[in-house]
């Protein structure tokens, strides 16, 4: 196999995203976990770029790494979460269930990838570059996918109201 620039980049980013994901769940300090999650989002954005999805890549950074992780950081600071030892669950059957479930998912993924014979696209669509641009997404989102888009506003409205209701007791 010829290693093109894209393949090298893909393997590098894939390794980075897995490594950072492992770091997220193994760090003691929640703030470190948040930082590694941000690294993870960056490598995901890079992976989107290798798929020519430029808009999605930058949105991944603006919304996930730039907005949602700020909230995570605020909540961790707000609750003054210490090291995880103090938070650790005493009851271990939950852990057992978690391990079992993760194992099941892993098996499932392995089955789909290796045995089921599902056809995976092996290269990018020829129009991939065109589809990834902001212009194309704008055109499609506001014509073909108009209804889902409008429904999103209801979802966001619900989120606004939910946030206020949750914080309200304190504000009064």
């Amino acid at each position: 196999m010829i290693m093109t620039f894209e393949t090298v980049l893909f393997y590098f980013l894939a390794a980075a995203s897995i490594a950072s994901a492992v770091m997220v769940i193994t760090r003691r300090s929640p703030v470190m976990s948040v930082l590694f999650l941000i690294v993870n989002f960056f490598s995901l954005a890079g992976l989107y770029l290798t798929l020519h999805a430029q808009f999605i890549a930058v949105i991944q950074i603006i919304v996930y790494a730039g907005a949602i992780m700020v909230l995570f950081l605020f909540v961790i600071m707000l609750l003054n979460l210490g090291d995880e030892q103090r938070l650790a669950e005493r009851i271990s059957y939950k852990k057992m269930i978690a391990v079992g479930l993760s194992f099941a998912v892993l098996m499932e993924v392995l089955y789909v990838v290796a045995y089921s014979g599902t056809e995976f696209p092996t290269k990018n669509l020829e129009r991939a570059v065109e589809i990834g641009t902001v212009e194309y997404i704008g055109r499609e989102l506001f014509t073909t996918f108009l209804f889902p888009f409008e429904i999103t506003s209801i979802l966001l409205l619900a989120a606004i109201i939910g946030a206020v209701v949750m914080a309200k007791k304190k504000i009064d």
């Binding site: 703030v31 470190m32 890549a57 949105i59 950074i61 907005a67 700020v70 600071m77 990834g132 212009e135």
Partner: protein
């Protein structure tokens, strides 16, 4: 593919930025001295012009103090995030068209990508972490409060900043900054340059105000309001790590001015240059100079404002962001969209 050209440009950007900041610090101190009827730095070098260089050298030789209770890795990381984000933003800003240098034509910008302006916004949203983490990792009350206030301020004004950009995008129809500049090189009614400052005056005002807030300049320098918070998020920083925060603040100032010029003041375009029968090479040289002059003008505006206006109170600042800037930017957007849809 040619990797030498972008590499040279990257090194140039870093070098020019550093030189600019050093000049900027000196001139800001001189201008503030002039405004306050003082003399200002005048000992190091002719007229004190090397004062900022001396400051950098001094900071470099100072002890790097990390408080006992601080989180050392994050304490080190925070200034790196700040400066890294500030420096990288310049990558998509065009300072001119194309120019023939050493026998090959060179585009006078680092990367002309499809998502252009969104790259700048993405980096702006990363800048919050430098400040929040600096405040949190120091484990000092002043730092934490300063960092928190500051990050709440940054994210609040990021909204009105993003909304005012949409007004410009409606007119330009592209996210590429070069395209936005091209769109501004036409004329309204045959004589007025079609700069977005004339087409989108409301967006211009909201963007400039948000830019002031995003760069932590007075009247928005709440993060380091000395009487309340001592040094704000960098209370516990010393040596060059402190210097990096200062540096990134000034780099942000230069970058914000360059963005204002690109989005609203016609970028590198020179009105009526095409009627003057100049050679392509001369035109691109004039364009670069124009860009520099415009940017310097905006920077001067920032500096003069800083030494003229008092600071907001924190509740006033948040009120302005959420109750004034956000609705105005949104209304401007709706009106612009309606006019464009109705008359096109």
């Amino acid at each position: 593919m040619n990797l030498i050209e972008p590499l040279v440009k990257v090194v140039l950007i870093l070098a020019v930025m550093l030189t600019l900041v050093i000049l900027l610090v000196y001139s800001e101190r001189r201008i503030s001295a002039f405004i306050q009827n003082r003399i200002g730095p005048n000992r190091v070098g002719p007229k004190g012009i090397l004062q900022a260089v001396a400051d950098v050298v001094k900071l470099l030789m100072k002890e790097d103090i990390v408080p006992k209770n601080a989180n050392k890795p994050i304490h080190d990381l925070a200034p790196m995030i700040s400066i890294g984000v500030a420096m990288s933003t310049f990558a998509v800003i065009p300072i001119g068209g194309t120019m023939v240098l050493l026998g090959q034509s060179v585009r006078l910008m680092l990367a002309d990508v499809n998502i252009g302006i969104l790259y700048i916004l993405a980096l702006t949203s990363m800048g919050v972490y430098g400040i929040t983490l600096a405040g949190w990792s120091s484990n000092s009350k002043y730092s934490l409060l300063g960092g928190l206030r500051s990050s709440a301020q940054l994210i609040s004004y990021e909204l009105s900043m993003g909304l005012s950009i949409v007004g410009v995008l409606l007119i330009a129809g592209t996210l590429q900054l070069d395209g936005i500049v091209q769109a501004q090189s036409a004329y309204i009614g045959g004589w007025l340059p079609a700069w977005n400052v004339f087409l989108q005056p409301v967006a211009f005002v909201t963007f400039v105000v948000s830019a002031f807030a995003e760069t932590n300049r007075l009247p928005f320098d709440l993060p380091e309001a000395e009487p309340e918070l001592v040094g704000g998020y960098h209370t516990e920083y010393s040596g060059l790590k402190f210097g990096l925060f200062m540096l990134s603040e000034y780099v942000n100032l230069v970058v914000a001015s360059a963005i204002i010029v690109t989005l609203f003041l016609g970028g590198y375009s020179v009105p009526f240059a095409e009627y003057m029968n100049l050679s392509a090479q001369t035109v691109s040289l004039i364009q670069v100079l124009t860009f520099c002059v415009k940017t310097a003008g905006v920077i001067l505006f920032f500096v003069v404002i800083r030494w003229t206006l008092p600071r907001f109170r924190y509740d006033q600042l948040m009120d302005l962001g959420w109750k004034v800037m956000l609705p105005i930017a949104l209304a401007n957007l709706v009106v612009t969209g309606f006019i464009l849809a109705a008359f096109s």
